[in-house]
């Protein structure tokens, strides 16, 4: 019931290798499909590496272990990233990854609760995760549990008003066992963010949250944010992560419309080679 790596054995080389492996796991899913949410997934490889291999408490043998920490990924269309990490921790077989998005595959384009071990919520309709996380934080506290609740949300998702209802509730009920991660990648379905969200950190502070702002593609800063979240008490915590969609593959980072990436059939070899060169 501990993550692979504790503070005592913190190894950035290990976390870097895991982030690289997560990107490989994502490419395996995307290859040949021509399109998908690969950009968002690549942008969160460092986050998922630090969350699952440094911070989150889970049982590799039992996805339903009662004393596990909870992780709610609110942006269900990032499923490609979740499948990558769930395969890496052994909840799903790696040879299932290429079935991503295929008919009858449980690895759907959006997360559906109950079909894949380790998926704690159905995330396709945006604006659900934060409220569910607040309820789970209250529920664990009521039980006297030491487990914590982690939730991922995104800059575009903050346009959903339900987010702010949940933000108000979390502060009102002093959910300090709740840590939220805001993926600020600057994109949404219609392209670049269509309405401004800045100053986003100030907004969360004004709602009564403790806020920590980092480069979401920096392993060091992510580990620092986890330490900060463990140390602060009394308020719900928000880690604002600035991330780069397509991170790790130069030609995808450069794509302007990275929300739903389209890739030509002859590009996959180049992409794969770029990923290995970048991480060599």
């Amino acid at each position: 019931m501990t993550p692979a790596l504790t503070n005592d054995t913190l190894s950035f080389a290990f976390l870097k290798e895991k982030a690289h492996q997560l990107r490989r796991n994502m490419l395996v899913q995307a290859v040949g499909k021509g399109q998908g949410y690969l950009g968002q997934g690549l942008g969160l490889a460092e986050f998922f590496s630090v969350l699952y291999f440094h911070e989150l408490k889970y049982d590799p043998q039992d996805p339903h272990a009662k004393n596990r920490d909870r992780f709610y990924m609110s942006t269900g269309h990032y499923s490609i990233a979740l499948w990558a990490v769930l395969a890496e921790i052994g909840y799903i077989p790696k040879d299932m990854l290429p079935t991503y998005g295929a008919d009858e595959s449980p690895l759907e384009m959006s997360t559906i609760e109950g079909r894949v071990p380790g998926v704690e919520m159905t995330g396709g309709s945006l604006g659900h995760g934060l409220g569910i996380a607040v309820g789970a934080a209250l529920g664990l506290r009521l039980k006297g549990s030491q487990s914590r609740v982690f939730v991922e949300t995104s800059d575009g998702e903050l346009q959903e008003g339900s987010t702010w209802e949940a933000a108000t509730a979390a502060a009102a009920f002093k959910c300090d066992n709740l840590v939220a991660f805001l993926d600020c990648n600057g994109i949404q379905a219609d392209g670049m963010l269509v309405v401004p969200i800045e100053p986003v950190a100030d907004k969360w502070r004004a709602f009564g949250w403790d806020v920590f702002e980092i480069d979401g593609n920096s392993l060091e800063q992510l580990v620092g944010a986890m330490q900060w979240a463990r140390a602060t008490r009394g308020k719900p915590k928000m880690v604002v992560m600035r991330t780069k969609p397509g991170k790790g593959i130069a030609r995808l980072e450069a794509r302007e419309q990275a929300h739903f990436i389209r890739v030509d059939a002859d590009e996959w070899d180049l992409i794969s080679r770029e990923l290995e060169q970048e991480n060599a």
Partner: protein, 332 residues
């Protein structure tokens, strides 16, 4: 019908000519938690008006008021259910089913969340107009996959459902009768059973098929009609989903004519599901449909509105008498 005055917020309607019980929902919820010890009650700034304060006073650490935020109400409940709790939510049905529909469908029903929504002001039980009257809530909730939908008749049934809801798998939408609620069913003998319609009487001229408080009106109307020489019986369908299709088909087959009655628009509620059930059983009967017309209803006093839109016992009796061509005066 003399005109009246819209009641002040929270003012309790008086119940005439029938015993009543105050806040049966709270009593049932308290009894449920005394037994299960896993109930958490949440409301959205309508604690006083949905009868949950007695529960809060009895179990203060099992109560949350999220403010006027129905989306938070439902998602927080969904999160509580994911950590092992049975979450009872209360708000008005209009807000639960219109404002928070996506959250009831996806955060709750889709994953089978153990969330029980008790929704006040069903149909014409409030004088606060179209904004507050949940007149299409049964249709909205019935269409959601894996959602259980219940419309209780009286205080006895309301209390029993509040006590048993935790035993029903998954997400439940139940209309909430609050304040002074008439006692129609004898608590010593009546037993609510999910998905099971209950027959009252054996008259075969008219078969009332009703849900919610319309069953009370149909029972009264049946008694009046008997004095006019019309023998009627009543089938109470508290559970709209899963619906007792066989029970309804069997009942309809045993009577000459059918009258459906619901405190809801005639689109997508009881009448629709009865018609589905009868068609599937190849039963065709002359049918009179009693319900709220397809439009938003104005503000007004509750007796005035219920009379105007045909939902009182007298109006039900007269509607049936007119339909049959018998003289209503004979009952006076």
């Amino acid at each position: 019908m003399p005109k009246g005055q819209t009641l002040g917020m929270g003012e309790l309607e008086t119940v005439e000519n029938r015993p009543f019980e105050t806040a049966p929902f709270a009593k049932g919820a308290i009894a449920a938690n005394e037994k299960r010890d896993d109930i958490v009650v949440l409301t959205a700034d309508l604690g006083k008006y949905t009868d949950v304060y007695p529960f809060r006073d009895r179990f203060p650490d099992r109560f949350y008021n999220v403010g006027m935020a129905e989306q938070a109400l439902v998602t927080v409940a969904a999160g509580l259910s994911r950590t092992g709790w049975t979450a009872y939510c209360t708000t008005y049905g209009a807000f639960a089913t219109r404002r928070a529909h996506d959250f009831l469908a996806i955060a709750c029903a889709h994953g089978g969340a153990n969330v029980k929504m008790f929704a006040g002001n069903p149909g014409l039980t409030t004088g606060y107009g179209g904004t507050h009257q949940a007149i299409e809530d049964l249709a909205l909730m019935r269409a959601v996959p894996d959602m259980t939908v219940i419309d209780p008749c009286d205080a006895t049934e309301m209390r029993q459902i509040a006590e048993q809801a935790g035993e029903i798998d998954g997400t439940v939408y139940c209309r909430l009768l609050r304040g002074n609620v008439p006692v129609v069913f004898d608590p010593a003998t009546y037993k609510f059973e999910l998905g099971k319609a209950k027959r009252f009487g054996d008259g075969a001229d008219i078969g009332f098929i009703s849900t919610g408080f319309m069953t009370e009106r149909c029972l009264d109307a049946a008694r009046d009609l008997a004095r006019m020489g019309v023998k009627a019986s009543v089938l109470h369908c508290a559970t709209i989903k899963p619906f007792d299709r066989d029970g309804v088909a069997e009942f309809a087959a045993s009577v000459d004519k059918v009258v459906t009655a619901e405190n809801h628009v005639l689109i997508g509620g009881l009448t629709s599901v009865v018609l589905d059930a009868l068609q599937e059983a190849s039963i065709l009967k002359p049918m009179l449909k009693i319900g709220i017309p397809d439009r938003f209803i104005e503000c007004g006093s509750i007796p005035y509105l219920q009379n105007k839109y045909g939902l009182t016992a007298e109006r039900v009796r007269d509607s049936v008498a007119d339909w049959l061509g018998v003289r209503a005066e004979a009952a006076e």
